[in-house]
């Protein structure tokens, strides 16, 4: 089952709504990377609030998305890491180094607004 990707202004928002198989995660990666170009997105938010586990494969895929996205000119932020998921990730030694995180969707949007704001178009990065 795929993850719906929502376009909002210059951002893409992917909200994971159920447990994902490895193939689903790779599909999410490929979908996001393709859509960054199609919609000329500057930011990507991945909401993992509903994800049951962040194991080594999921973490690796998220890191890949962030790095590939950056190469395509978009900043990625992961939101919704639950306390117990954070604990299991730390125990596993998976720190998501190099990947932006924010508490929730709201904080993620604020983060991207600050990150993608351009001097000449200040405050305009986020379309209504």
């Amino acid at each position: 089952m795929g993850v719906p990707i929502l376009k909002q202004g210059y951002y893409l928002i992917a909200t994971i709504q159920t447990a994902l198989t490895d193939t689903d995660l790779q599909g999410l990666r490929d979908g996001l990377i393709a859509q960054i170009g199609r919609y000329r997105a500057r930011g990507v938010i991945i909401d993992i609030t509903a994800l049951d586990v962040m194991d080594s494969f999921a973490v690796r895929t998220v890191q890949d998305i962030a790095q590939m996205g950056r190469l395509r000119g978009a900043e990625t932020v992961i939101v919704g890491v639950q306390p117990e998921v954070a604990l299991s990730m730390v125990e596993l030694g998976l720190t998501l180094a190099g990947v932006n995180t924010a508490l929730d969707l709201e904080e993620g949007l604020i983060f991207l607004d600050e990150r993608t704001k351009r001097a000449s178009k200040g405050g305009e990065a986020r379309a209504p």
């Binding site: 447990a19 198989t21 490895d22 049951d52 586990v53 080594s56 117990e84 299991s88 596993l92």
Partner: protein, 160 residues
């Protein structure tokens, strides 16, 4: 290597989630064997483990640790052995309770277990955190592997 076939494999398809309200852990099956052959089985196995652990009385933090450990072990089966099983059993010892997760396969085995247990070592292009990660997530961890025969990983965690 000792390779006992434990318990009967569940009939095809996921069994309906047991209704646990008003039941105690004593009503639960002592053992639950989940065949692992595909990616979808990885998800099913970790959900089953979470369910069983919840019924045993584990806190929600531990449920995620257990589900994550099962996910790593089941992925190793699919990745290296193609098929195997995850056996979940409830533990009771000196008044404390816990859960054992046993991952077993008849795959190629691990040539150098010490190397495989080293953090960051991977032959699959992964992060190399699977097995050492599982050892950190769980309270007890034993791995037995024999080349061309298979691998059995037993990981236990107790209710604090």
């Amino acid at each position: 290597m000792r390779r006992e076939r434990r318990g009967a494999v569940q009939p095809d398809g996921p069994a309906p989630a047991p209704r646990l309200k008003g039941r105690t852990s004593a009503d639960l099956p002592a053992e639950n064997s989940i065949p692992v052959r595909s990616e979808a089985d990885i998800v099913f196995a970790r959900q089953k483990g979470r369910e069983l652990a919840a019924a045993l009385g584990f806190r929600s933090t531990d449920l995620t640790l257990i589900a994550t450990a099962i996910s790593e072990l089941a992925r190793n089966i699919v990745l290296y052995a193609r098929r195997g099983e995850i056996v979940l059993s409830r533990l009771e010892e000196n008044g404390r309770r816990g859960i054992a997760v046993q991952a077993q396969d008849d795959g190629p085995g691990i040539p150098d277990v010490n190397l495989a247990m080293r953090s960051g070592y991977s032959t699959s292009g992964g992060l190399g955190l699977g097995l050492p990660g599982v050892r950190r997530l769980m309270d007890e961890f034993v791995i037995v592997s024999e080349p061309r025969k298979g691998t059995i990983v037993t990981a236990k965690i107790w209710i604090q």
